[in-house]
Symmetry: C2
């Protein structure tokens, strides 16, 4: 067989690889033999007019027959291949933008064009995880100045779709995560749209947390809407609560975030570019950003929060966004519920002005809605909080919430989980510390967010006087096995809640 | 089925993944279902007493049946599993040393203990490529000071096996690569051992070049020797030429080098730690390091070479090695042959003092051997070159070379490749530039180092007056297809050799 005859027949293998594209080729395939495996760590696989870059895995079993080639599921989807299609494989040409990444590694400042090349190649799938990790690391640790963060943000804005609402003021909010139960978004949307502002809210699902806003809203309404449906809902109601996953806004960000999660770092520059590019691409003009600060929150010190505030406001100005930062208390979870349905119950309780509604969640939502009302110029400075509270307590926010849900196709009430278990205090004393990360982990082990009704109801707050035997929180789960999973973790970790 | 019953039956799949360990589990496996795939990107797989960390690939075909689990070939080997063994899977506990990597990303200085933890976890296989890339990037761009490079070197020395020769002086040489055909090592070993020094030389195979010293020596003798065999040869002959791959010296380096190759960066700190840790672990005391400098060599400027010289000598002192740096011309290939057999022919030609022997290769080898003779104190300063030349021209170096080869099991002559093609000058003029990287690529496309006899014979040197039609080089290949491969590349790249 000719060494340069590089066409093979596709066979479906059904392997989902999570990370990179993988191509499977036999050890005795002529391409492998003529080039050597080591030289072929990454290759280009094409089916005209599409082509992808994939990592080579070499197969020595009859999973593939001679002349056959396999692809990981996501890679097959990207190439749009079917069984028995002919695929062409070739050497990976050098990735020119890696020169910019190397320059950044060696402490050089990059310009907008360089960031543009890098983001283009990342979106084309040409970067391996090794390359992505190097780019993120080289940009972390204050190695990007404000010009660079601005350039990266601008490049990311135009890297995917952008929305245009034909209105001069579009408001949005964002929370620099890390606080379980901090589900203010649905409340803020309800208040500000009830007040007449436009807030087409796209939210994410949980990546490492027990619930994302999209997970919580999905308990009560449909969140997977087409662009046309979103437009109809927003034109009719002034707002929406939808999952942003299909919107393709700043898609490079989705690639980078996965690597940042694996490294457990939030490069300040990348964080700013990530948040602001998504907002600008979604057509927002005025954005309030909530930064909870606490030892076990994402932002751990007031100093970090203030630097983030200055830099975010400056980059916002440079890309044409009016940004207001609100630094909040991030020392403990917000509201009572942690998990999609439990958080939905909190949201409804606040909207209905029930006496049992969690006051901390209500106060935070009113604060953020009030800031948005002021930032947009809808109400004068100093009046925002009062007006937001008014629209909430009058029931107008509740009515608007139900209207939006119905416009999205349904309004459903959250249902409780079948299995629960109360966790009681083992000593008396004062509640001294709550570990946000560990309580989030506990909720996830109970089954959240996959099992919508799973999670935790937390009844206590920092500073509370606790009596031995008092219920601290309830675990909710769909299976007894998951309840036991969570309980095992709780028994192994005495420092989830500290009473002194 | 219980969600915490995590035992599955191993099935051999025959997939070689090149990079990370991969574990294959079915989409409907209880562990995947109870935890969610996203949460399980990396998991621990155990078969007592061994355990590894692997990336999860999710299988939706009948490649695996319910209750079965698969592993990539290298992972299966590390765990020592056989068909139908029961394997246990569990969550990956947090990798504590990643905290040090994050600290380094944020520009903090790490101490020896921190580097120790990182290297230990890397050797345990706990780091993914994402983590490895972040560690390398965070250490690149002059972000390690001399203390840190020294600490990393010390940690790497003790991370694997170390050799002890019971002698006060053990010499070695190393070349900071990048120059095709620069095969001085066999000549240096022959000269200095003929002079009575001990030089137990372990060499590498090619990773991205057309030939490593081990590939070239394998043409003429056996290079895969056991520790006992190496000891016998060195005790008898004072030296050896063996492949270092089985020696397990500084094994962390092997892991890091793969990532550096993918990034195409040579972090100075990592480079120094890599080279010096291998030498110290091999029991060397006096080391000469050749740094070729040239536009298309690994080290591109005299300034970089001089900084590397200062830092390498300083770290050498700190870890107890006497290091001498020799900065050489890296503007063009050395010798005539590029490829294992062709380089072996050059080596033999120099050893036999043939008139046609490439003088540049001879001069370089004599220079380095002379430096080693002086550095070791065997001859007085200023006398090294003359003594090395003497031992070469007297035929003693040749005799020693043959003796060592025979002690290693055989001496064989290199054989020529069956297919050749002469590439001729398309214009007259002066030879202005040779691209080391592209000429190396051309040799690889011809089949080197896999096909031992493949490669290039280069007949011209920078500054030569060239006449149109004159043969510039000959391509050698084992198949006509490979010859065509190389020719296609040559035709696409006019700047391999520039005549002005």
């Amino acid at each position: 067989m000719e060494p340069n005859s590089n066409t093979l027949t596709y066979k479906h293998l059904g392997i989902y690889t999570q990370n990179e594209n993988v191509v499977y080729m036999r050890y005795d395939c002529h391409v492998c033999k003529s080039e050597g495996f080591e030289a072929l760590v990454r290759i280009r696989v094409s089916k005209a007019p599409r082509s992808i870059v994939a990592s080579l895995n070499v197969v020595s079993s009859n999973m593939l027959l001679p002349g056959e080639i396999g692809l990981s599921d996501a890679a097959a989807q990207k190439l749009d291949v079917s069984e028995n299609d002919l695929l062409h494989v070739s050497h990976l040409e050098p990735i020119a933008s890696l020169g910019h990444v190397r320059a950044k590694i060696y402490n050089n400042k990059l310009d907008r064009e360089a960031y543009g090349h890098i983001i283009t190649d990342i979106l084309a799938g040409d970067y391996s995880n090794i390359h992505l990790s190097a780019f993120i690391t080289a940009c972390a640790g204050d190695r990007m100045d404000l010009d660079e963060i601005t350039d990266l943000t601008k490049v990311m804005i135009t890297s995917g779709k952008t929305l245009d609402w034909n209105q001069s003021i579009i408001v949005d909010k964002h929370c620099i995560g890390g606080l379980p139960g901090n589900r203010t978004t649905p409340l803020v949307v309800a208040m500000v749209t009830a007040y007449g502002l436009t807030m087409p809210k796209t939210s994410s699902r949980a990546i490492t947390s027990p619930a994302g806003t999209a997970d919580t809203m999905e308990v009560m309404t449909n969140v997977t809407l087409s662009s046309d449906e979103i437009e109809r809902v927003v034109n009719q109601e002034g707002g929406c609560f939808v999952w942003g996953g299909t919107a393709q806004l700043s898609p490079a960000d989705d690639v980078l975030i996965k690597i940042e999660k694996a490294l457990d770092i939030d490069s300040e520059g990348q964080l700013i570019a990530s948040v602001l590019s998504k907002k600008a691409a979604a057509g927002s003009t005025h954005v309030v950003i909530d930064i909870p600060v606490g030892e076990t929150a994402k932002v751990r010190s007031m100093e970090m929060a203030q630097k983030l505030q200055r830099d975010m406001e400056a980059v916002g100005r440079a890309v044409g966004l009016t940004v207001k930062i609100v630094i909040t208390d991030g020392t403990q979870p917000v509201g009572r519920g942690i998990g999609p349905s439990l958080e939905a119950m909190d949201v409804l309780s606040v909207l209905k002005n029930e006496a049992k509604a969690p006051q901390d969640l209500k106060e935070r939502a009113v604060l953020l809605a009030g800031e948005l009302l002021e930032l947009s110029g809808k109400v004068v400075s100093g009046e925002g909080n009062r007006r937001a509270l008014q629209v909430l307590e009058s029931g107008k926010a509740y009515d608007k919430f139900i209207s939006i849900c119905e416009a999205q196709g349904r309004f459903s009430l959250p249902v409780p989980a079948p299995h629960t278990l109360e966790v009681k205090a083992e000593r008396s004393g004062v509640l001294h510390h709550i570990d946000n990360r560990k309580i989030a982990k506990l909720a996830k082990l109970s089954g959240a967010p996959r099992a919508k009704s799973a999670g935790i109801s937390l009844y206590v707050r920092l500073g509370d006087r606790i009596t031995k035997g008092q219920t601290l929180y309830t675990l909710h789960a769909v299976t007894e096995g998951e309840l036991r999973y969570a309980l095992d973790y709780k028994n192994d970790h005495e420092d989830i809640i500290t009473i002194l």
